[in-house]
């Protein structure tokens, strides 16, 4: 690699006459993670310019073209299926860092989900904490006050006893570290973690997934765009200083994990919530004062992507003086400053006359700021270093990036289902209750402050104080003077998606709807977190395409758009890929939180109804996993039915007919009943004889979609059944769960016993 020093820390790199091997060497040495075609495209560009690039220019391009920043593999697919689903209420969709949707006449809600998988695999505590920090900034930069966090997590089982590949940490260590990281960051910044999920599947052993979502609320007239659309606006960095930490995080996220990842210390950061907390105050107070012209957070890609994208979006250019950036350590090279992904930083666009007001705010909160440049009318990027121009390129070239129509292959799985003999119900039920995907997540949930800010009116754990069990969605009440609420849930079902990614996606959307409707909320919009393996493999790309097709088909029928999202590829390690993991953060609206419904049984003597129909499709079910039985026949989702039934149920709820409601998911009917019993500390007598005719075990443990259990007081039973077509399956009563199929008793387990098993299973392997 041939270099020529231009000034301190800046080199000219000879690429004009480089051979293919030399380009490859430059790519490797500089850690660019580009393909050879991309290297050639860059070479072509500078040949046209008639000069050699600086190292800064090369890094800037590599960053702009990375998978993480450019979505080069996913864009064409997303465009085809996910983007542009019509909606009345969506305001800003898939444009800025987070989606914006109307809440009421005055307010909008803002949200997004994002992955932080690779950093968390390497350093669980810091990776998870900075994942939370990053997603908060995405919401904050729309001018919104962050009000809720969610944390869908995916690990191998905590009792995993197989061999671990070199450099791979045990799932227990990872789980403990991740939970601690989310807890310490979320709690310290004072944003409640109101929902999440904790999912176990052996295929995450080499590659855990840590997704994080944030929701905020903003007055419509205070929404800030991530763009600058006029020249002469000052660009101000606010918050943390810039350091060598986090260099190349973006390229890291676009690379396959390997043994060497352990050494990539530079991509690891711990995050500083005590810098973020006052930064949030500064940003929100500045926005209230009306002095924020535009704003974007510094996330993946650092200063480089932010300046580029902000100005590009507004049709202007920028001039930046890198020597004005405040540094953590001296002697950083300009390219390092440009690509560093140090945490807790925001870029504000501010008119010159408003700078003093911003300075005053920063002083009050003890937050640092620095004016690093300004927008210019020419659509170019110019960077200076102590007065010397060291980058001069059209913005278009850096930000537009590349796109690939990657080849894909859709694998068809033959539909087969073993029929094991009928089990001992009592034993198998308790084994299901202690399955890690069913067992209580209380140990995790309570380490997160889910009530700070005082808005959480339906909590993640529901029921009698001290006896609470799982709920389906949480509700926050964001505006003091209004009864309107926002319901939030997260869902994923990798076991089903692995067998059939298309149906898995439909199932996931269906479960999102189920969870929101269960608390009485109308589904409003979605954020999609798409976690996949290596897209350069055709089968993986096939899983991605099929998942997106499913997501699109489902959401179009429901009228719930994807307003933000995130794609994480290259979740591959040691040649193994994760199962296709579509995570949804779903938001619903409830007009009056006083009508919200929780999952715990309320009163002895009330009637129990099953809404929806059950099919004997056991593929992906907890029951078959517990038995070790094989089925590839996944539950079939009819999304029109999802829509129809959920509307009926919401109607019944709005009439006040429903005392408790829980959707049926992992573990089937029996688990849903158990959770409702434990939360209310009361038993139930159930007869599944009224359900469609099939094996009793399938009635109890099938995970068919679009089903809920509802508790209804006797006098409302008839009205409820005629509205929803539900069948009555039993009565709230006693202190045990007693289930029969017609004349035949299946099991009888005390609430106390269920609670001990359900609470203890996962707990025994944690902290």
């Amino acid at each position: 690699m041939k270099l020529r020093k231009i000034t301190d820390g800046v080199y000219e790199v000879s690429i004009l006459n480089a051979t293919e091997e030399e380009l490859e060497e430059i790519n490797e040495t500089m850690g660019l993670a580009l393909s050879i075609e991309e290297m050639k495209k860059m070479q072509e560009f500078f040949r046209e310019m008639g000069r050699e690039p600086t190292d800064l220019e090369i890094h800037a391009i590599a960053q702009g073209w990375s998978e993480h920043c450019s979505y080069k593999s996913s864009k064409p697919v997303l465009r085809k299926y996910i983007f542009g689903i019509p909606s009345e209420h969506a305001m800003i969709v898939m444009q800025d860092d987070a989606g914006v949707v109307e809440f009421d006449d005055e307010y909008a809600y803002v949200f997004k989900i994002e992955s932080h998988n690779h950093p968390s695999a390497v350093e669980p505590y810091g990776g998870a904490a900075t994942g939370v920090g990053g997603i908060i900034r995405d919401v904050l930069n729309m001018g919104a006050k962050p009000m809720a966090l969610v944390d869908p997590l995916f690990f191998a089982p905590p009792n995993y006893d197989g061999k671990l590949n070199p450099g791979i940490k045990h799932p227990r260590f990872l789980l403990n570290g991740v939970v601690a990281g989310i807890r310490d960051y979320g709690n310290r910044v004072g944003i409640p973690t109101v929902a999440g999920m904790t999912y176990f599947h052996e295929d995450y052993v080499n590659n855990i997934l840590v997704n994080a979502g944030c929701l905020g609320v903003v007055r419509k007239d205070k929404i800030v765009r991530s763009m600058v659309d006029a020249p002469g606006i000052k660009l101000v960095m606010v918050g943390g200083r810039t350091g060598r930490d986090g260099i190349h995080g973006v390229n890291f996220a676009s690379k396959v994990l390997s043994e060497k990842s352990e050494e990539e210390k530079q991509a690891v950061q711990l995050g500083n919530p005590i810098l973020k907390e006052p930064l949030i105050h500064v940003v929100l107070e500045a926005n209230d004062m009306g002095i924020v012209y535009g704003m974007k957070d510094l996330g993946g890609g650092g200063l480089g992507s932010v300046v580029g994208e902000m100005c590009h979006a507004g049709g202007v250019g920028a001039e930046v003086h890198l020597d004005r950036v405040l540094l953590k350590e001296p002697n950083m090279a300009p390219w390092e400053i440009w690509v560093s992904e140090s945490q807790e930083r925001m870029l504000l666009a501010v008119k010159e006359e408003n700078l003093p007001a911003l300075e005053k705010l920063c002083k009050k909160w003890d937050v640092e700021m620095s004016v690093i440049g300004e927008s210019i009318s020419e659509r170019r990027l110019r960077i200076y270093w102590h007065g010397e121009k060291i980058l001069d390129m059209p913005l278009e070239f850096i930000t537009a990036g590349v796109e690939y129509d990657r080849p894909f292959k859709i694998k068809k799985v033959e539909r087969v289902q073993e029929l094991p003999p009928e089990p001992k119900y009592h034993n198998v039920f308790l084994r299901i209750l202690s399955d890690f995907n069913v067992a209580s997540k209380e140990w995790i949930i309570r380490q997160y402050d889910h009530e700070v800010q005082g808005r959480t009116v339906i909590k993640p754990m529901q029921g009698i104080i001290g006896f609470e069990s799982h709920g389906d969605a949480s509700i926050i009440k964001p505006v003091h003077s209004s009864w309107k609420g926002i319901a939030i849930t997260t869902v994923a079902n990798p076991h089903i998606a692995k067998l059939d990614p298309y149906m898995g996606a439909l199932y996931t959307v269906d479960e999102a709807v189920r969870n929101l409707v269960a608390v009485g909320a109308r589904p409003s919009s979605l954020s999609d977190g798409l976690n996949f393996g290596n897209p350069e493999r055709e089968e993986i790309m096939g899983e991605f395409v099929e998942s997106c097709r499913g997501l699109g088909d489902a959401a179009r029928v429901l009228g719930t758009p994807y307003v933000s999202g995130n794609v994480s590829f290259y979740n591959e390690a040691f040649g193994k890929n994760i199962p296709p993991t579509v995570v949804l953060m779903a938001v619903g609206i409830i007009d009056d939180i006083r009508a919200a419904v929780s999952s715990d049984f309320k009163r002895d003597g009330n009637h129990i109804y099953l809404v929806g129909s059950t099919a004997p499709d056991m593929g992906g079910s907890v029951y078959y996993r517990v038995l070790g039985a094989k089925s590839t026949v996944v539950p079939e989702v009819n999304i029109n039915k999802t829509k129809e039934l959920s509307e009926k149920l919401l109607k019944a709820m709005s009439r006040g007919l429903v005392r408790a409601c829980h959707d049926i998911s992992h573990g089937g009917l029996a688990v849903a009943l158990a959770e409702m019993s434990m939360g209310g500390d009361v038993g139930a007598e159930i007869d599944v004889g009224a359900m469609q005719h099939m094996r009793s075990d399938f009635k109890l443990f099938s995970e068919s979609p679009t089903r809920w259990i509802c508790e209804v007081s006797p006098e409302h039973g008839e009205e409820f059944a005629s509205l929803t077509g539900a069948v009555r399956i039993g009565t709230v009563s006693g202190d045990s769960l007693r289930i029969r199929d017609g004349a035949r008793w299946l099991f009888n387990v005390s609430v106390e016993k269920m609670r001990t098993v359900w609470r203890g299973a996962l707990r025994a392997h944690l902290g």
């Binding site: 709690n187 310290r188 004072g190 800010q453 754990m461 001290g466 309320k602």
Partner: protein, 255 residues
Amino acid sequence: MKVAILQMEGTNCEEESYMAFKEIGAEPEYLHLNLLRPGMLEDYDMLFIPGGFSSGDYVRAGAIFAARLKAKAWNELRKFVEAEKPVMGVCNGFQVLIELGLLPGTDGISDVPEAALATNESNRFECRWVHLKKERDSIFSANVPDRIVLPVAHAEGRFIASPRVIEEMEAQRQVVFRYIAPDGSKPDYPWNPNGSINDIAAVVNSYGNVFGIMPHPERAFFWYQHPDWTRIPRNRGDGYYVFESLMRIIEAKNR
């Protein structure tokens, strides 16, 4: 009644607290530690230190907040307390008051801490609701029913002090709330969520004007903040009554 709600980086329950004071007709104002100037405290009738993670609770919960407040305004703070104006700290605020030596305050004000709020016995941050029994009336508890529920959310809430201090506190009836099991019996974990000696959840100093409480009354101000409101109808949240107790002083002020 003008209430100063102290803020610094990492305090984060100030908005709920502000709203609670507003709702009972007080005049709350945020006062950032960085903006605190000599003579400022005098203008207020009450001082409130909210919950949160001041300075990340690095070193020890509340320690940095206390040290900085002490460095800035110790004499004024002493005067404020000696004038018997109310001072209240919730959660992190309670930790600050302990670190300042304003609580337990068995003998007024102490220059060194005489108690500690140590790491929970469970070794975990825990967000959960607890049952409390009121042990005595005070300006902070006069209107509170004998039994209430409130949420806790902390990692360091285990009240510890020497046997002598505990004895004095008990003799002077300084414990305002104790954790209790739902059936009224002595609480084990999780009913006593942190392992506090004598199940202590809230204390008042010997003058009766400095009050510290681990659970969060400001998070239970409205009925719909209770976790079991879908089961049990209420008109107000249980925490409301703590603030309502303070209204007496407001009314006295207004007269």
